[in-house]
Amino acid sequence: MNGLLEFIGTNIEMIYILILAVFLGVEVIKHIPAVLHTPLMSGANALSGVVVVGAILVMLNSDPEDYFSLTLGFIAVVLGILNVVGGFAVTGRMLQMFKKKDK
């Protein structure tokens, strides 16, 4: 129990940010017309590729002799970037189609 309280005490800022971010996410998405559900889903999907930042950190922090970390890090960067680039590109492509008809 003490461990838990100590944990909350030392990470209180993180916990604040987490909770506020949850509410922010809910508010930002709340009133979205159904028309945009598909692009929004793929856009959010691209955003979740932010995990690639972690993958890059893994590689930067690897010893050049540490083939295990480098290999897994390399694959993680490839997959993460694929998620980011592919996700944003396909979202843009979908939205481009909506745009054309605005005239």
């Binding site: 159904a34 959010a44 995990v51 993958a55 590689m59 970390s69 970037i81």
Partner: protein, 459 residues
């Protein structure tokens, strides 16, 4: 962390929030996407170039190579994909993001574990990443038809829940014991992967969009957890935004299909309701052919087209636009009625029709068009079923009772194009097909519409 990198992450985080906000409005969506993408580019570039590690050139080359490979493959996939295949693609990309999170966890657990918080983030990153990866791959397989749609595992609810508790307990043991025994780490990864498979396998193909949205949300949470591990705000906030936005989207989709999230996950459309349907007399159906349908539409003053899943599967979005143009030339007032969950995922029909250059203003949403059906001469239903089933209004025993539908039965004439008399994904009969005003035009949507168009051209 240097101050300049912190500022870069701050800018990137704000751009994610602004981008996501703008993505929610049709007129600003394109800018929103660009702003979020720019923020992401900034965060990635900042991470690579501003840090305190001593990095040999070889690693820079490797990182550059990885980014190059990922960008080329991702870009090609994004530009090559057919719009009807969008759900598969989102699912695939999502799986990649999840596996990236799991791989990071695998590397970090092999290093010195540090304190309990770090151990906890690493272990949960591996579990969630593994679940999203295998779950997304199963969803992808189901959507592209390489996996049989519903695979029944006996007692799957009990088995899954027990298994899930087991995975959590295993993870908790790993955290408290501080263990990084490679055998246990591999077992942890394997149990996460297996749970992802068990979780998605029993869920029906038509519910996949909900599952993908849920898994997408999970990938966001995995990214956020990795953000906690590195005390990295852009990952933390970006991930949480996706996590909570994903949950909201998931709930919105469930509402459109009149399902609760629990019903999707635990598969509540039982077989018991179907039995009572057989007793009821529904009368007989009337068949029609393309030439009669063409005549009906030619002499109508207004036509509403109701496109559905069948249109997307048959890739008939271009033909239907042709039909609409011919009718408009002949002086018929044509509109499209778009149900919120029409197509293969919510909002998908809008994307498909936009792809075939249908004028955006002709697409009318359900709430706005429902009052217009009673003044409509002909409604053409193409490959839609449950979203036009009057049972949603007048049969309290029906599993779709209470679901918002398009009130096509109020129109003067209804033409329904379907491949067969098979029930829709809810597995229930549709009394609309037996209505006196309804005629059935059987056949593949693309074939039937092509014939309809050529008949109309000859009139």
């Amino acid at each position: 962390m240097s101050i300049s990198l912190s500022i870069i992450y701050l800018i990137a985080t704000v751009s994610f929030i602004v981008g996501l906000k703008k993505l929610g409005n049709p007129s600003t969506a394109k800018n929103g996407n660009l702003i979020a993408a720019a923020g992401m580019g900034l965060a990635i570039a900042g991470t690579i170039f501003i840090h305190d590690f001593k990095v040999p050139p070889l690693i820079y080359i490797l990182i550059g190579l990885a980014i190059l490979i990922g960008s080329i493959i991702g870009g090609l996939m994004a530009f090559k994909v057919k719009m009807t295949k969008m759900p598969e693609l989102v699912s695939l990309f999502n799986g990649f993001g999840g596996s990236s999170a799991a791989l990071i966890g695998l590397v970090e657990i092999s290093r010195d574990a540090g304190d309990k918080l770090q151990a906890m983030t690493i272990v949960s990153g591996i579990i969630i990443g593994a679940i999203t990866f295998s779950g997304s791959m199963i969803a992808w397989g189901k959507l592209n038809g390489s996996l049989k749609s519903v695979i029944n595992i006996p007692y799957h609810n009990i088995v899954n829940n027990l298994f899930f508790i087991g995975v959590i307990a295993f993870g908790a043991y790993m955290v408290t014991s501080g263990g990084n025994n490679p055998v246990l780490v591999v077992a942890l990864l394997a149990s996460g992967l297996l749970y992802g498979i068990l979780f998605v396998l029993p869920i029906g193909g038509a519910d996949m969009p909900v599952v993908i949205s849920l898994l997408n949300s999970l990938t966001g949470i995995a990214a956020a957890i990795t953000g906690v591990l590195y005390s990295n705000m852009v990952m933390l906030i970006g991930g949480i935004l996706v996590g909570s936005a994903g949950i909201i989207l998931t709930i919105a989709m469930c509402k459109g299909m009149n399902r609760t999230l629990g019903a999707v996950i635990f598969g509540a459309f039982g077989g018991t309701d179907a039995a009572s349907d057989e007793d009821r007399k529904l009368g007989s159906i009337k068949k029609t052919n393309p030439s009669d349908s063409a005549i009906m539409m030619n002499y109508a003053s207004n036509v509403i087209i109701v496109p559905g899943y069948g249109l997307a599967v048959a890739q008939a979005q271009h033909v239907i636009h042709e039909l609409e143009e011919i009718l408009t030339e002949k002086g018929v007032d044509v509109k499209y009625a778009i149900h919120p969950v029409a197509g293969r995922m919510p909002g998908h029909m809008n994307v498909l029709l936009a792809e075939s250059n249908v004028d955006y203003s002709l697409l009318v949403e359900m709430e706005d068009i429902n009052s217009q059906f009673k003044n409509t001469d002909v409604v053409l239903v193409v490959g839609a079923n449950d979203v036009v089933n009057p049972a949603a209004h007048n049969d309290p025993s029906s599993p779709i009772y209470g679901m918002p539908i398009l009130d096509v039965e109020n129109a003067k004439h209804i033409i329904v194009n379907k491949r067969t008399m098979n029930a829709g994904y809810a597995g229930i009969e549709n009394e609309l097909f037996y209505n006196d005003k309804t005629v059935m035009l059987f056949g593949d949507a693309k074939d039937a519409l092509t014939k309809l168009v050529s008949e109309l051209k000859n009139m």
